[in-house]
């Protein structure tokens, strides 16, 4: 039994639902079923991922097929346009799609024919029966109630007949396909064909519009069936790189639905986050660690320091994937934070008379309107006279600093108190140097710093601090990704390498990459709080962490299950050669992981938006938690934009708003999307019904 089939086999048939449908069917002339994601379901996340399967298959046969998947998708769009414009046809056939294919890829007639055959073969291998529907059709046959299939589909009728038969369906009355009769469920015209017209029908399907609301307008009684439903993703260019996440995620989704009333399960969030760990997390973290192994070897790294708190999960994954190997690289977990590092390094770049520009930027950073007192509080250990001076400069003690507003004033305030701040930097410097000495950080021959990345500021500070003791100290950084500002820091950081994206990417790509960073930082985070200082106790430097009950609760509810999913999956991989969802080591490439990242954060499913937007994130060094997405739609459309700027995962935010928006709000959100998400491709914009 294949992995996917075994997942489906775990499904408990929804007997109540089957009985109810049977009862309703007794009063009808005919029961009709949608086919895809109702009677049969694919083992991929999105139907179009089958084209990626075809490309992969062709490439394995050494055919020049790079770009086939995207070309196949474009050929279908072109065929639809042509059928609509020239012949006023509602739907198309498989043959008509392939007529268009050579427009998008340099394929000969022979190659086109071969691709056609492989697509049918891939479809056949990817399709599996849905137990509730299969059982219902058996019951209908026993009760001599006629049933038919009605599907908006281009695949050949004979092919579908065979697939349905192979998957256990039998004795149906008609198989009605839009590509065949050129009428569709989407428009409703299919209900007027002679096989369906003037009949008392119960129709069952998973598409709310074409299976429910449209048929109702034609007097059809309908039943929504969402258990095998899938929500197509289009977060990146379609290629074989989407497959590891697509297949593993679909498997996990099927497992999540083992129980018929899965969505009301009180453990649903926990299970969904675990599933996300077993699919997305395994691809992402696993690919990073395998890359890290290769890069550490190439660069002769002798010790890896995984930085708190993002390095927590990475280090655990490192231990799993390097067990039973001959890797001699030692590793440690470094209790550091942007705060203790930058303030400690500030002692080296500033003087009692002058605070360096880098430090002024760091001290003044804030995301939203923030009170001056709060900006000072996060530094800690400040002389009370500093607060007095702040009150003099800023009219009210609780004066707010907004982005760019009052910023110059704030920097002037820091500068005029440079002597007092310098003392604070010195305190942080003493502590972190003590901690680094204890951790023997500058004694390693070739040290590698491991963190999630972005600007290189942590590595810059580590290097500056270690050079304070050992002037010829050097280290390398290994990261998920780097932003454009990282390149400006490179001279002071030393070499930095990134697995998934870098500062050299195009602007639009960077804007896409930023989308998921807040979520992914939280998903990797350690259970403990961030390091705010060090204290010398019992002969050792101990990190002082900021413990937050809110963060602890969030960890247990949402982060821990994700991390468990990742680590369980990687352990299965080491033990059995593959995860329960079938992921193998060869699937864990940086390219596949990057595609998984884009798929999840640029085209999340509704369920993912709902669960991920429950995560709160601390973006700045004070680590004050704020929601990743604010589910509340602002009262006035003119406020949408201002609220939107407060969040990095704008795709998630706007999708979250769309779930609950009224029709007029939807129009405003669509307008906002068009204006501000222009960096998304046409394909990616389809989730907003744009493009």
């Amino acid at each position: 039994m294949t992995g996917f089939l075994s997942a489906l086999a775990k499904w408990t048939p929804d007997q109540n639902w089957i009985d109810q449908m049977l009862q309703r069917a007794h009063m009808k002339d005919l029961v009709t079923f949608d086919i895809f994601d109702t009677c049969l379901t694919r083992n991929t996340d999105s139907p179009v991922d089958i084209f990626a399967q075809v490309e992969k298959h062709l490439l394995l046969e050494n055919k020049k097929a790079a770009g086939f998947a995207q070309a196949r998708e474009n050929a279908e769009i072109a065929a639809r346009q042509s059928a609509c414009e020239h012949n006023h046809l509602e739907d198309i056939t498989f043959e008509e799609i392939y007529v268009q294919l050579p427009r998008f890829i340099n394929f000969s007639e022979e190659e086109t024919e071969a691709a056609k055959d492989i697509e049918l073969k891939m479809e056949q291998q990817a399709l599996f029966p849905v137990c509730d529907i299969l059982r219902l059709t058996e019951k209908l046959n026993e009760a001599n109630i006629a049933y038919s299939f009605v599907s908006d589909m281009y695949l050949p009728k004979e092919f579908l007949q065979k697939i349905l038969t192979d998957n256990g369906y039998c004795k149906w009355k008609d198989l009605i396909i839009s590509g065949d009769c050129r009428k569709t469920k989407a428009s409703g015209t299919i209900w007027n064909i002679k096989e369906l017209k003037d009949k008392k029908i119960l129709h069952i399907g998973d598409n709310y519009r074409s299976d429910i609301t449209i048929p109702q307008k034609y007097g059809i009684e309908t039943q929504f069936y969402a258990r095998a439903h899938c929500q197509p993703r289009a977060g990146c260019k379609l290629s074989p790189a989407v497959l590891p996440f697509s297949i593993s995620h679909r498997y996990e989704e099927i497992i999540l639905r083992t129980n018929p009333d899965f969505s009301s399960d009180p453990e649903h969030d926990w299970k969904r986050m675990y599933a996300l760990g077993q699919s997305f997390g395994v691809v992402q973290v696993g690919a990073f660690v395998l890359w890290l192994i290769e890069r550490s070897r190439t660069n002769n790294i002798t010790h890896l320091a995984f930085c708190a708190r993002d390095g927590w999960l990475m280090r655990k994954a490192w231990h799993i994937l390097t067990q039973d190997t001959n890797i001699s690289i030692t590793d440690s977990y470094l209790y550091v934070s942007r705060k203790v590092l930058t303030l400690g390094a500030g002692y080296l770049t500033c003087t009692p008379e002058k605070i360096s520009p880098v430090m002024l930027d760091f001290l003044s950073q804030h995301m939203y309107a923030t009170p001056v007192a709060a900006i000072l509080d996060r530094i800690k250990s400040l002389d009370p006279t500093i607060y007095e001076d702040a009150r003099k400069i800023f009219s009210a003690p609780d004066a707010y600093v907004r982005k760019n507003d009052n910023l110059k004033k704030l920097k002037e305030f820091f500068s005029r108190n440079s002597k007092k701040f310098y003392k604070v930097f010195q305190k942080y410097n003493n502590e972190i140097i003590g901690y680094f000495t204890q951790e023997k950080l500058y004694e390693y021959k070739r040290l590698g710093i491991v963190d999630m990345g972005w600007n290189g500021t942590m590595q810059r500070a580590v290097r500056q601090l270690c050079k304070q003791i050992t002037p010829d100290f050097s280290c390398m950084g290994f990261y998920y990704g780097l932003w454009d500002s990282a390149s400006g820091n490179r001279y002071m950081t030393g070499p930095m390498e990134s697995a998934f994206f870098s500062e050299f990417d195009q602007n639009n790509d960077m804007r896409k990459n930023i989308q998921g960073i807040d979520v992914i930082e939280e998903l990797h985070s350690a259970p403990g709080g961030s390091t705010s200082a060090f204290k010398y106790e019992a002969g050792r430097w101990q990190p002082v962490t900021v413990e937050s009950p809110q963060e602890r609760e969030q960890f247990e509810r949402l982060i821990d299950p994700f991390q468990k999913g990742v680590l369980d999956g990687l352990s299965e991989l080491v033990k059995y050669g593959q995860t329960r969802a079938g992921l193998q080591k060869s699937d864990l490439t940086t390219q596949n992981a990057f595609h998984a990242y884009r798929l999840l954060f640029l085209s999340p499913t509704t369920d993912e938006v709902k669960v991920l937007s429950k995560i709160a994130h601390g973006a700045l060094f004070d680590h004050n938690l704020t929601a990743l997405c604010d589910a509340r739609i602002p009262a006035r459309p003119k406020d949408y934009q201002n609220v939107m700027w407060n969040y990095t995962w704008t795709v998630g935010l706007l999708r979250q708003w769309l779930i609950q928006a009224s029709p007029s709000q939807k129009d405003a959100i669509h307008e906002l999307t068009k204006q501000h998400l222009g960096f998304l491709e046409k394909r990616e914009l389809r989730q907003f019904n744009i493009g």
């Binding site: 520009p357 400006g488 390498e497 050299f504």
Partner: protein
């Protein structure tokens, strides 16, 4: 039968399907920029390359110290040449050109950067059978304006795209100097060998001269993908560094001298063709004058129309009419 087309890469059989790229990088005491350029090369998805780094008179220990951290990542793919004194950019490039091996050559100076897919896309382009007729390829790109602040680079803004053209026209290249920045220009090694060195007698415009020699061998393909970045350093007032102002002045001078040289080279084999040259220029001048005249007429018409149709123009016109009608009498 007389036939002119096609003749790009004619008689040029040395088109290979190899993938090794020789990268020439010139640097002189700019470690803050250099480390970024090294990272730009190391992050390429196409890893079959060799970097020929030319230390053009910069401090040797400083450079070697910077390189220490990167040696392991480069492995055998780095050759460094140290010049004791600062040579011209052309001479520094020529020194490296002589050493290069591989299938393609490109200059990636220490101030510029690439998108990680640059080499992958450009080598794939030139290796595609339908593109064997191209001697080189150039890509689209953008210009980044930045400031150097002690030990860090601060990006200020980016300017859209290069003066990218879908097709590189020989005549356009002759007319408008060179709009192809070296960072976006990958050339076949066989073509580079045939073209020879950069002209050390040209302290400026040598890139243009080089590209004109390339296009004499074969066409230059284009990739409309923003994958090359030319970086410009600006001061606090947003003005390019002093060296750029000096180059601007030199540019004008050498543009004239270079054009004179081209005409002399053209006339050398047959001095009598000077008459043909004069004829072409006169005809061109006539056409331009005719167009200018047409434009002037149209411009005057529009000016009158605007005058008449504006609010004050209408009043003025009406007053004139009334004056003529009643007062003149």
């Amino acid at each position: 039968m007389i036939s002119f087309f096609p003749n790009s890469m004619e008689g040029f059989t040395a088109v290979s399907d190899g993938e090794c790229v020789a990268i020439i990088m010139r640097t002189c005491n700019r470690p803050v920029l250099l480390v970024r350029a090294l990272a730009s090369v190391l992050q390429q998805t196409h890893q079959n390359w060799h970097l020929y780094l030319v230390n053009n008179g910069g401090d040797k220990p400083t450079l070697e110290n910077v390189l220490t951290d990167y040696r392991s990542a480069f492995g055998e793919r780095l050759s460094v040449t140290h010049y004791e004194t600062n040579h011209s950019m052309e001479a520094a490039a020529n020194g490296a050109l002589k050493q290069t091996k591989g299938d393609f050559v490109i200059i990636h100076d220490d101030g510029d950067t690439w998108h990680p897919s640059f080499l992958q896309k450009t080598t794939a382009f030139l290796n595609a059978p339908e593109n064997h007729r191209y001697a080189a390829v150039t890509t689209n790109g953008e210009t980044v304006y930045e400031q150097l602040e002690a030990d860090r680079i601060i990006e200020k803004y980016r300017k859209g795209q290069f003066f990218f053209q879908q097709h590189i026209s020989f005549s356009e290249l002759l007319f408008t100097n060179n709009n192809i920045p070296p960072i976006s220009f990958l050339i076949r090694k066989s073509v580079a060998d045939a073209v020879g060195s950069f002209n050390v007698d040209l302290p400026i415009l040598s890139d243009w001269d080089y590209i004109l020699r390339v296009i004499q061998i074969g066409d230059i393909g284009t990739l409309d993908d923003v994958i090359a970045r030319h970086h410009q350093r600006i001061n606090e007032n947003g003005i390019h560094d002093d060296m750029s102002a000096f180059r601007e002045e030199q540019h004008g001078k050498y543009n004239v001298l270079y054009t004179n040289a081209l005409i002399r080279a053209f006339l050398k084999s047959d001095p009598g063709t000077i008459g043909l040259l004069r004829l072409i220029m006169l005809k061109g001048d006539e056409k331009i004058n005719a167009l200018l005249q047409q434009n002037q007429i149209r411009f005057d018409e529009l000016k009158t129309q605007i005058k008449r149709n504006s609010f004050f123009g209408k009043i003025k016109f009406e007053l004139k009419r009334l004056k003529k009608k009643y007062l003149v009498k």
